[in-house]
């Protein structure tokens, strides 16, 4: 602003002094917030279930986007850290009981303690991996992190007293200040809607996602965020500028594993149980698809990408009766296949045609809108607007 001579004479796009679009954005945000808060009152269980699982993976996608999208470190290890979080939660908050795999241990602690412990332990695991994550460059890290997924699968399959083995074990319901996030005989009724598991979980997911979102967005707008972007662009340039590259890569990996741990707890709550196949390599690929489709490095994009990838199979399944060529027998194209084709193709299409993803599409739309309104208000683009 002060060195206006250096600023390229472009119509205002990112200046803060511009009142109109900001008001408009705040309004949009407020409307979105009200809609999201009212959802449990108007929508049925299918959408609530879907919504909460989107919140769960969106938290994970934001974390992965900090690491892969912003800092440029390819990681496939997200399901591993989610598994650590989920496993810790069920062990801390669950009860000792019998499952089909054998006896599973549970400490019966309050679920909130379980959640905090889960996030903490995933963070510890992320730190423990920092000798690798700090030293490896993007591509090598991708392969090394793939190893973690297989290790996680092995642990989930064999550590039966903790995980319940191949068939897994149920996730204990969440509980906060005596309020059980579960169905009960005498539920709280708000506006004629009885609030059970899914309604409460919706709000829990909303709060956690909002916190995860704000933290990531503020981080990216601050000094560490700029350093992370520089590490992605050029590690050499970053170290010349005084960014401790190794430490940064290790720390971002740590942060991303914390996000994954929280996402793991939410994911386990949304599925209702933990089993090895929920945390397999498919999920790594889905996460990468989310951040690419949403737009690499964009926090809002990660959420949008998560919503797209997560809802695709379920929505197709739900409306499969209306899609003519879908079949239910094993030979034909099932809803699950179609969802995979679409998200695989979406990844390819985004990389080919719009590398900035959904967030890029959104931004160009906003920019077009602004240009239109600007040219209506003032025929000559104002110079001091920059």
């Amino acid at each position: 602003m002060s060195n206006s001579t250096l600023v390229r004479p472009r119509p205002a796009t990112s200046t803060r002094g511009d009142r109109g679009p900001r008001l408009w954005q705040t309004g949009l945000l407020a409307v979105a917030a009200v809609v999201l808060l009212l959802v449990p009152i108007y929508l049925g269980t299918f959408w609530l279930q879907l919504g909460f699982s989107i919140f769960a993976v969106a938290v994970g996608a934001i974390g992965l986007n900090l690491l892969t999208g912003t800092t440029g470190q390819l990681s496939l290890a997200h399901p591993f850290f989610m598994a650590v979080g989920a496993l810790t939660y069920v062990v801390l908050a669950g009860e000792t009981s019998e499952t089909s795999g054998g006896t599973v241990i549970g400490l019966g602690l309050p679920p909130l303690v379980g959640m905090v412990g889960a996030v903490f332990l995933s963070g510890v695991c992320g730190l423990a991996f920092s000798p690798v994550s700090g030293r490896l460059r993007g591509i090598y890290l991708g392969m090394a992190s793939l190893a973690l997924v297989f290790i996680g699968q092995h642990v989930l399959n064999t550590a039966v007293p903790l995980s319940g083995g191949f068939n897994g074990r149920p996730t204990p319901p969440f509980e906060l200040f005596g309020l059980k996030f579960d169905y009960s005989d005498s539920p709280v009724v708000i506006l004629g809607v009885p609030f059970g598991r899914l309604e409460w979980l919706w709000y829990l997911g909303l709060v956690l996602l909002a916190a995860a979102f704000l933290f990531a967005r503020n981080l990216l707008r601050s000094r560490p965020g700029r350093a992370m972007k520089l590490v992605a662009d050029s590690e050499l340039a970053a170290s010349v500028m005084g960014v401790p590259v190794m430490a940064y890569k290790g720390k971002v990996f740590f942060l991303s594993s914390i996000y994954a741990g929280l996402a793991g707890v939410m994911y386990a709550l949304s599925i209702g149980s933990i089993a090895p196949q929920s945390f397999a390599m498919d999920l790594s690929m889905q996460f990468l698809a989310m951040i690419v489709i949403g737009g690499m490095g964009s926090v809002g994009g990660a959420v949008a990408g998560a919503a797209f990838v997560m809802s695709l199979p379920l929505v197709i399944q739900n409306f499969s009766a209306y899609i003519p060529f879908l079949s239910t027998d094993s030979g034909g194209i099932t809803a699950a296949h179609l969802a995979k084709y679409i998200y695989g193709a979406a990844v390819i299409a985004v990389l080919l045609f719009k590398p900035s993803g959904l967030s890029g599409i959104w931004q160009s739309a906003v920019e077009t809108y602004r240009r239109k309104t600007l040219s209506k208000q003032e025929l000559v683009p104002s110079k001091e607007g920059n």
Binding site: L74, L136, I139, F150, H154, V292, L351, P355
Partner: protein, 295 residues
């Protein structure tokens, strides 16, 4: 005796992994792509062979499989990788993940729940050498892999393609300045990588494996740690890495009861554990070139 038998099994498995890892390394050298769709190329080759062996006979079908996989690889390069040539390496890697999702879903759907046979003429025959009993498939795998790799190494060293490929890997800009056609080099690299993957698929589906199942992609995935252990930019490293992974897997399976304290199925995880250990000690892999950066 068990030791010798496992050694032989490990070496033969390693030779096949080396074929896949070699393709992986060539791709990385030629176009800086970490190809996650490589497992699907292996499956594609095996699938085409399995579909056509009754029409063309086994060897014709293997040829068809190799051509199909090589063609698919070239198409991937031309249509999907080249347009984003200058994108960051991560985007290229994620592009191959998108391709992998598509290819893998379609192949798994086509294969279904059955086990497809490729019609290996040697079937499940075994050969007895002294007190060692080993499937013929494994012996042929070693022989073929050794010949193919030797031919490749000679070509890589002496043919004009090999020289230009190495020049391109050394310094892209200079290579372009002296008139090398990087596009053509990349296409040939993908062609070779696809062919090698299909060839490996033929042996990975032979005895003692019952045939082609969707899990072949997971087995082929073990060539990834092989390439990483050796160093992604080292051809010799791919061979060494392949052998290491083959041996680790064979011995883990052979000494399963002694390793029982690590849990069942540890053999599937060990290649990846070895990779992590190698990466902690040498982040560039055993034979990879270290990038020196002075600030």
């Amino acid at each position: 005796m068990r030791f010798e038998s496992l050694l032989l099994t490990g070496l033969s498995l390693g030779a096949v992994y080396a074929l896949v890892a070699l393709g992986f390394v060539i791709l990385f050298k030629a176009s800086e792509v970490l190809n996650f769709a490589h497992g699907s190329l292996v499956v594609l080759g095996a699938y085409v062979t399995a579909r056509t062996h009754e029409i063309f006979g086994f060897f014709g079908a293997v040829l068809a499989g190799i051509i199909a996989a090589a063609l698919a690889a070239v198409l991937i390069e031309r249509l999907l990788i080249r347009p984003i040539r200058n994108a960051p390496v991560i985007s290229l890697a994620i592009m191959t993940i998108g391709i992998e999702v598509l290819l893998n879903t379609e192949l798994v759907r086509q294969i279904g729940v059955d086990i497809m046979t490729l019609g290996h003429p040697w079937g499940a025959d075994t050969m007895t050498m002294g007190s060692l009993v080993i499937p013929v498939n494994r012996l042929i795998a070693i022989g073929t892999a050794v010949v193919v790799i030797a031919v490749f190494l000679v070509a890589f060293r002496f043919s004009s393609w090999g020289v230009s490929m190495r020049a391109a890997a050394e310094d892209r800009e200079t290579a372009e300045l002296v008139g090398l056609r990087l596009d053509r080099i990349a296409v040939v690299a993908w062609l070779i990588a696809g062919a090698l993957a299909a060839l490996a698929g033929v042996f990975l589906t032979g005895a003692p494996t019952p045939g082609l199942t969707p899990s072949l992609a997971l087995i082929a995935l073990r060539a990834f740690p092989a390439a990483i252990i050796g160093g992604l930019d080292s051809v010799a490293g791919a061979l060494a890495g392949g052998m290491i992974i083959g041996l680790v897997e064979a011995f883990a399976a052979g000494y399963q009861s002694e390793l029982a304290f690590l849990g069942r199925g540890i053999g599937d995880v060990l290649p990846f554990l070895v990779m992590i250990i190698v990466l902690i000690i040498r982040p560039q892999g055993l034979f990879g070139r270290k990038e020196f950066v002075r600030v």
